[in-house]
Symmetry: C2
Subunit: 309 residues, 2 copies
């Protein structure tokens, strides 16, 4: 890209409302300088979205800017961390001012809502891809992990499963009906940041559902060295997903990704008042993942989780 | 990619020698948890390398793994920071075990030399690109910046200019002679980490030369609101570059990128004993960048630096 194009890009990413006093030096040098509070721990996460793989090349750039940050804030939420900073590595085939303005608008609107300051980045020419790194913090020792689930714990979900997956099927023309909610969830997911923070000291383990419930709960079970039974009838589903399931493909809420809800466990005696979260199963000592459906237990993940794709 | 391929990739990136006691939680959860020492500031930087743009698709993957980390450690060096952690976002067209093993070997060899622990990442399918984020720290207030150069300061370079640029010309078949040193500098640059740390309290401003001396010194001058005079005859050059310059294209050491040397300024009275750094000019009050060559002053960058590409 010519220098003028880089200047153009820079212009879209230098005007931002959030500025933390813990930011000693923000965008514009070889690195940012940060001074997180001493009684806190820093939580760091990174995610890449590749055009044609993680999003359709035709997606609204404003929604894409939102999603590129949202998937990282979802990781911070799963750790119980408060978001603070992000860096943005943007690879673009060309510098299209309208596209860039919309992308930046989506990115910064979500950033402002969650108090995220952009502290650096890199703009390169190449096939469209976005890598965001997000930094947040937790009081020392308070981070949620995947590894704390214990037999007897209940399993909760923060919201419906399979909704984003239905949105993808709609966008790909694989479903005969429309569902604006599903498409919005696919393209503009809402990270459960406040919930994640509120689960500190309550959840025994937590993960965000990005790859699908079976896969991500599988990661949590593996890290905790336990198993689980999921109750199919208790899975939270939208009307659109129920309508889709009526067509016969009941696996969607278990295998579809991109919902960015939290899946977490908590001891049964910890009442989750007014959290909006739904109990969907329980942890067992024997390793594996079973789905209770129509009175039968279906094995979803055998020990070792090698054969499920 | 199939799950098995992700497992394969994970295997190459989980065995590492470096582990810091400030790492509360490393690879394997939704985020890493870090606890930097309270009297220090954190320095964060990110850089992307795109195949066909920042490296030739045919490059030795071991050198590429080295370089992907090196360009970020060079940014930390320019801030005077000690490297501590890195995350790796790797986008791959396919999971080739031999390629991955070599890439990981190059990445971890450099990581171990500088005490860098890999704390997270994301592996995605798509056109080959690598985004590394590096984190380091400095004692509070000690970070080097681009903005501290003052009129009268001397300008120094930590090593030869144009060498990596010559290496690129050789790789592209644009030069009739070979120069293994130049190709090595292009493909496996050595970040000036120890030098950067040693310049704390000495350098008034610092930047790493990644885009070319004129452009990067231009950034430093702009941040410091000053100008500079560079002495062409004092620029450190390798034998290969001298040989290339004899062909007539004297601009190479000024415009070629990828050398990853440090360019810094320091008051004239601060003697730089045994640093191996070479004085190449001085800072002036009038904004702009002039090259003194063959008794003439050539204006390289006018005020505002808008027209130089």
């Amino acid at each position: 890209m010519a220098l003028g194009e880089f200047e153009l890009i820079r212009r879209f990413f230098t005007a931002q409302a959030v500025r933390h006093r813990e930011t000693v030096l923000g965008i514009g040098d070889d690195g940012a300088v940060l001074c997180p509070p001493p009684d806190h721990e820093l939580v760091v996460t990174v995610d890449t979205l590749v055009s044609g793989v993680h999003f359709l090349p035709t997606v609204d750039p404003e929604r894409l800017g939102h999603k590129a940050l949202a998937v990282n804030l979802s990781d911070l939420a799963a750790m119980g961390a408060e978001p603070r900073w992000a860096s943005l590595a943007l690879t673009l085939p060309e510098a299209d001012p309208a596209w860039l303005a919309a992308f930046a608008r989506g990115f910064f609107r979500l950033a402002e809502r969650h108090g995220v300051e952009l502290i650096g980045g890199d703009t390169t020419q190449g096939p469209l891809a976005i890598t965001v790194q997000a930094l947040g913090w937790v009081p020392r020792g308070a981070a949620l992990r995947r590894s704390g689930a214990r037999p007897g714990d209940r399993i909760y979900l923060s919201g419906p499963m399979g909704c984003a997956g239905l949105g993808l099927k709609i966008r790909l023309g694989q479903v005969a009906f429309d569902d604006a909610e599903a498409v919005l969830r696919l393209e503009q997911p809402e990270p459960r940041v406040e919930l994640g923070v509120s689960l500190r000291g309550i959840a025994s383990a937590c993960i965000d559902v990005s790859d699908g419930l079976a896969a991500d709960l599988g990661h949590l079970l593996e890290a905790s060295a336990v198993g689980a039974v999921l109750e199919f009838e208790q899975l939270p589903l939208t009307e659109g997903v129920r309508r889709y399931l009526a067509g016969g493909d009941w696996r969607l809420p278990l295998v579809a990704g991109d919902d960015y809800e939290l899946c977490f466990t908590a001891p049964a005696e910890r009442v989750l008042a007014a959290s909006g979260c739904v109990p969907v199963g329980h942890i067992v000592a024997e390793r594996g993942l079973w789905l209770r459906k129509d009175g039968r237990d279906i094995e979803l993940l055998p020990q070792g989780y090698e054969h499920f794709a």
